[in-house]
Amino acid sequence: MSIEERVIEIIMEQLGVTKEECVPEAAFMDDLGADSLDIVELIMAMEENFGVEISDEELMKIRTIQDAVDFIKRKRGMVN
């Protein structure tokens, strides 16, 4: 399973949204109905799944699904 697919799977489970809603440019708060606590929990699930650590400052910059995917890839050294 690709990182994109796994990220979307986690988002669907955590936020209770459909696959169709999980387009790359979907913003967690504006498009997927998440509040600040939802995002904390979502990020915790991603940290656990991908074995990465996300600081509170980095968290602020993750707005959309694409942001999350890019961030995880970067952290795991798969980009650049």
């Binding site: 955590q14 936020l15 209770g16 606590l37 904390v40 929990e41 915790m44 656990e48």
Partner: protein
Amino acid sequence: MRKRVVITGLGAVSPLGNSAAQTWEGLCAGRPGIAVVKKFDASGYRTRIGGELKNFDPLLFVNAKERRRYDDFIIYALACAEMAVADSGLVIGRGNADRVGVIIGTGIGGLAMIENAKETLLNRGPQAISPFLVPGVIANLAAGQVSIRFGAKGPINCTVTACSSGGSAIGSAFRIISEGYAEAVIAGGTEAAITPLAFAGFGAMRALSTNNDRPEAASRPFDKGRDGFVLGEGCGILIMEEMTAALNRGARIYAEVAGLGETGDAFHIAAPPPGHEGAVRCMELALRDAGMKPADIDYINAHGTATPLNDIYETQAIKRVFGEYSRSLPVSSTKSMTGHLLGGAGGLEAVISVMAITYGTIPPTINLDDPDPECDLDYVPHIARTKEIRSVMSNSFGFGGVNVVLIFRQFEERVDR
């Protein structure tokens, strides 16, 4: 003059069924709701039996995300509130939202989720704790979530008075409506304490029945063979409304809340005093509050836990208040079938009391095979009894010595007294 308060909606989930109607049917059939517990492996515990909900589908009332985040005591309250609001036909909207309150008591709150979170904390550290732990477990979030769900913007409260919590909630709602602080209140009690710590803790107090081999016969109020209460889970919710508001919207009125008594024992953390004078004063206060005489009460839904002390002292207190009339006054303990719902008990038993008035039927005390000689009232053994019920007294007594007595009566718009 204080405003009158009526009941227009009922909701319940209990070991006997997943609605007020199913619960009532089980009660009238004298069906025991007690079994070996399934929520956790209790094989190493003194007590391995309890009153759990059966085939309850939380997803009928919350989505998968909410189910994961809310402890069951909140989900049960949401389910019952949903059913009670629908039953009442009350529409909560722009015109009345800030006059509709929510008061839901619980004895313990989200113990199951707290226990699981402690395990996560020990195994995986503080970073693994969900930001939804706190709002998923704190006691007032049953009322909070119900308020959010229905847009009820009036007074929100959570009474925490152990096994009287549900009674305290309904008492508080009665007071704030009768004093004009709210027009309607979603009120009751909820509990989901079928957990390892609760079984260990209540077990250590020797409060729980250990009749593990015969679960259906374990809850035996007033019987010589009783050996403690059986822990149950569930919830009971009433829609309580100011009478004129209910009449104006053409609501069906089940019954009226006639009176409230509240007292303290100032005696012991768990045991009632001999003769239970706190309960005596409490029943007397409720009668006075309702402007009724002892002989006006047609049925008492007893606290009746099946602990050795409660059943004798509650009997003594009833005899003291009702005198000669106590010989012909039916008293039953529905905990013989539901188990003891702790903070949920007062809520569920209020629903049951109202249904007794509505259907003219007294649910029995089952398992009363060999009455304790010190328990010598008419406990309606084994079989439900048909009888016109004009008014019911519902007793709740809790750890810490807190007593709450509520009186419900048939509704008549005109009262000549």
